[in-house]
């Protein structure tokens, strides 16, 4: 019985693999993400590169104890509190750019265009975390943290700064942006057929109608914008696989991390190939192929987020001190829990293939987050190993991998 099941499984895998590699005889796929029209490149995603770099600066600045709340919030909004022009970034190009992080948080067409109430709540969550960092954590820079009190803790030779519940807030912000900004824009906006085919886009793409002053059709550009949320800061943007994992602190970073786990080797290549085939399919006007590739990307990016969520919960379990009364020994566990918290937050922005739904609803995600912080009065200080395991199991249950595979 088991053997039969295995054969069936392997058969499916082989079938789906060969399926991916030969999507359609009339779509010619280049080895790199290089597409040209009349000898000029048609690929552009500067806005995505800018937002990744803005997020990098924000996450770093949250650990600059001289940073003001105004400046951090300006980095999030790229404007002043009253909506005026702001220059919060070290990188002048980002100050000049018209993008912002906040503008694209929880802002996908599929999930939030008719759900602005939730969108504004999610946008506000990030402001809450930024405010708490300045109001609660910064004043306690030179205090040792204890249950119910913000301050610093040792994590190996590193020092972590936590709020009263043990959250490392810049990690919460960083890992939550992976879902709320990068994955949401990619999976639920730019790869969405609602967006790619909106208005006259399909007709324009069919007839070679380009954007004003540009060398690309809007559909081509939208696909590239999805690509930019993972490869926007790659050393070689057309051939980013060589440095996957090294080019940012967000989706690129953790796609690389998951790919380095023997249980998931090849996932980075699957994602890159799907982007390239999908883009070639747009050139070839093969929209079914395009949408198949979008589903491959949705499934795999969602997996990256889920695997990291589980991995951090399982790492936290090992890092929790044997002696739970030893308050100085929680730093490593809290760092892992905070990263896990952000990845769980990001689950709400995942996307099941062949579906208009995330793997986990907002209320399921909120349930996990509440569980993590309510095993006792002091949040992470009281978290139980059984809670970490039950959340890990609940996440893995929706996917084709085990907690052990994701957790190692």
């Amino acid at each position: 019985m088991k053997k039969l099941l295995m054969i069936a499984l392997v058969g499916t895998m082989l079938f789906s693999c060969s399926d991916d590699e030969n999507p359609s005889p009339n779509v010619s796929t280049p080895d790199t993400y290089t597409f040209e029209r009349d000898g000029s490149l048609t690929v552009a995603f500067n806005g995505q590169t800018n937002r990744i770099m803005m997020a990098e600066e924000l996450v770093d600045a949250m650990l600059d104890f001289s940073a003001t709340k105004e400046r951090l919030l300006e980095m999030y909004r790229n404007e002043t509190a009253s909506g005026g022009d702001a220059s919060p970034f070290d990188n002048a190009d980002l100050n000049a750019a018209d993008q912002s992080i906040k503008g694209k948080v929880a802002a996908s067409a599929d999930y939030f265009s008719a759900n602005t109430a939730e969108s504004s709540q999610i946008k506000a969550d990030f402001e809450t975390w930024i405010n708490a960092q300045v109001d609660e954590v910064f004043p306690n820079q030179n205090t040792v943290a204890s249950p119910g009190a913000a301050g610093q803790l040792a994590d190996g030779s590193k020092t972590r700064y936590v709020d009263a519940k043990g959250l490392v807030l810049n990690q919460v912000v960083a890992k939550s942006l992976i879902g709320a900004l990068m994955a949401d824009q990619m999976l639920n906006n730019y790869l969405s057929s609602e967006v790619l085919d909106a208005d006259t886009k399909r007709n324009d793409n069919d007839n070679g109608v380009l954007e004003d002053g540009e060398n690309y059709s809007t559909m081509e550009h939208n696909w590239d914008e999805a690509y930019g949320y993972i490869y926007g800061t790659a050393a070689d943007k057309a051939n980013p696989s060589q440095t996957i994992g090294q080019d940012d602190s967000f989706l690129n970073d953790y796609t690389g991390t998951v790919n380095n786990d023997n249980d998931f080797t090849g996932i980075a290549e699957d994602i890159f190939n799907a982007f390239t085939v999908g883009r070639a399919a747009i050139v070839a006007k093969a929209y079914d192929v395009r949408d198949q590739q979008a589903d491959i990307i949705r499934e795999n990016i969602s997996k990256v987020i889920a695997i990291r969520a589980i991995n951090y919960l399982q790492s936290a379990k090992i890092a929790l001190p044997d002696d739970r009364s030893n308050e100085s020994a929680y730093g490593g566990a809290f760092q892992n829990l905070s990263e896990g918290y952000g990845f769980i937050y990001s689950l709400r922005f995942t996307r099941m293939p062949d579906s208009d739904q995330p793997y986990f609803t907002k209320s399921e995600v909120d349930g996990f987050l509440t569980q993590l912080l309510t095993d006792g009065p002091n949040g992470f200080w009281d978290v139980k190993e059984t809670t970490l395991d039950s959340i890990s199991e609940a996440i893995a249950a929706k996917f084709d991998f085990t907690v052990a595979e994701a957790g190692s």
């Binding site: 190996g156 030779s157 020092t159 100085s328």
Partner: protein, 375 residues
């Protein structure tokens, strides 16, 4: 013949039972695990405590007493010869430290002794801020890269361009003298607390906790030993400066960066201490007692058709031979001869696998720490 045949059969039954046990143990992580062997773990713990750990701490605390005296002499009488004597005492204590650093258990673990003693690179900027303001709290975790041997290294060898100017700074800056005084006193206080704990009740507690659960002395100290080997020795002293974990070599991450010409001495002291612990070599004299080596020999662990303890000792010898070719100054080695640094790392890494995978499996010990992802 018949007896031999029976023995083989029994062995394979025990082996499969051990295998089953191992699998079960994996799925229920928090259950205490009983050992399947009857090796005298307590005899090994006694050897570790009485012949290795306590004598090594005793020596280290003695060297810190010498360092404290040299510091007091220098602060009272700021001559070049007193500065030179202080530098010698610093190096002697720093070498002695290499023999106790791996024993981060009990009081040492509670105090985070290693991280308050030897985090490098040290923060020159933060140290100068402290010296300038005269206010600092050396008990904070964030102050770990502003104290210990690397910070003293900066004060004695890096606080100004040359020895005369350093002497001049100590002559004119009371805050600098106070900082030096506080750093050395803190090293002495921390290590004395650890030694007193061992000489008080902790030795018996350690020796009597001779089971094989995750919280037993053997399982914990073997994990501490492995963590030390992997992070502090392999990565900290060689891999990180050689650029194994970064895009480019980081020559400013070597141990004793300001002194420069002793990084090999410190590394060899650390490697030798690691080898001696594995073999149960007494800290003083030539005796040997029960050890990881004798435990592995007892279990007659076979890897690749050869005995595991032999493979590990061969690999230690290869690491040592490779390191012997390095110059005294790892800063210049990283800058000019990094291939040799990388080859040394590779030899150390080969033993990481033998120790952390094969030895842990043979001893049925679980790794209790996480590979940090460095962010």
């Amino acid at each position: 013949m018949i007896i031999h045949h029976l023995n083989t059969k029994t062995t394979s039954i025990i082996l499969s039972m051990a295998m089953i046990f191992f699998i079960v143990a994996c799925s229920t992580e928090n259950e205490p695990k009983a050992s399947t062997d009857n090796f005298d773990r307590q005899a090994m713990l006694v050897n570790w405590a009485d012949n290795i750990i306590i004598p090594a701490y005793d020596n280290y605390v003695g060297k810190l007493t010498d360092l404290t005296n040299a510091k007091n002499d220098f602060i009272a009488n700021r001559t070049l010869s007193n500065l030179e004597a202080l530098k010698i005492a610093w190096l002697e204590a720093y070498i002695a430290w290499q023999s106790v650093s791996m024993f981060e258990i009990g009081k040492a673990e509670e105090l985070s002794l290693r991280d308050f003693t030897n985090v490098f690179p040290t923060s020159k900027t933060a140290i100068e801020e402290h010296v300038n303001s005269g206010t600092y709290d050396l008990t904070l975790p964030s102050s770990r890269n502003q104290q210990g041997f690397p910070a003293i290294d900066y004060l004695l060898h890096g606080a100004a361009e040359n020895q005369e100017m350093i002497l001049e700074r100590f002559e004119t800056e009371e805050n600098l003298r106070n900082y030096l005084n506080d750093l050395i006193n803190r090293l002495a206080d921390l290590s004395t607390a650890v030694l007193q704990d061992w000489e008080g009740g902790y030795r018996d507690e350690f020796v009597n906790n001779d089971g094989s659960t995750a919280s037993s002395s053997v399982n914990k100290l073997v994990n501490d030993y492995m963590f030390y080997y992997e992070r502090t020795l392999r990565a900290g002293k060689i891999g990180i400066p050689a650029g194994v974990f970064s895009n480019t070599p980081l020559s400013d991450r070597v141990e004793a960066f300001y002194r420069r010409d002793v990084s090999k001495t410190l590394f060899m002291a650390s490697l030798n201490a690691t080898i001696d612990f594995f073999n149960g070599q007494y800290y003083n004299g030539n005796g040997q007692g029960e050890s990881l080596k004798s435990y592995l020999d007892f279990l007659n662990s076979i890897t690749d058709g050869s005995d595991l303890s032999g493979l590990i000792n061969d690999q230690f010898a290869k690491s040592k031979a490779k390191a012997e070719n390095l110059g005294e100054n790892f800063y210049t080695e990283v800058e000019n001869n990094n291939a040799q640094m990388l080859q040394t790392y590779d030899e150390l890494q080969a033993n990481t696998i033998l120790l952390k995978v094969d030895m842990f499996q043979a001893l049925n010990i679980r790794v209790d720490y996480v590979d940090a992802d460095g962010d």
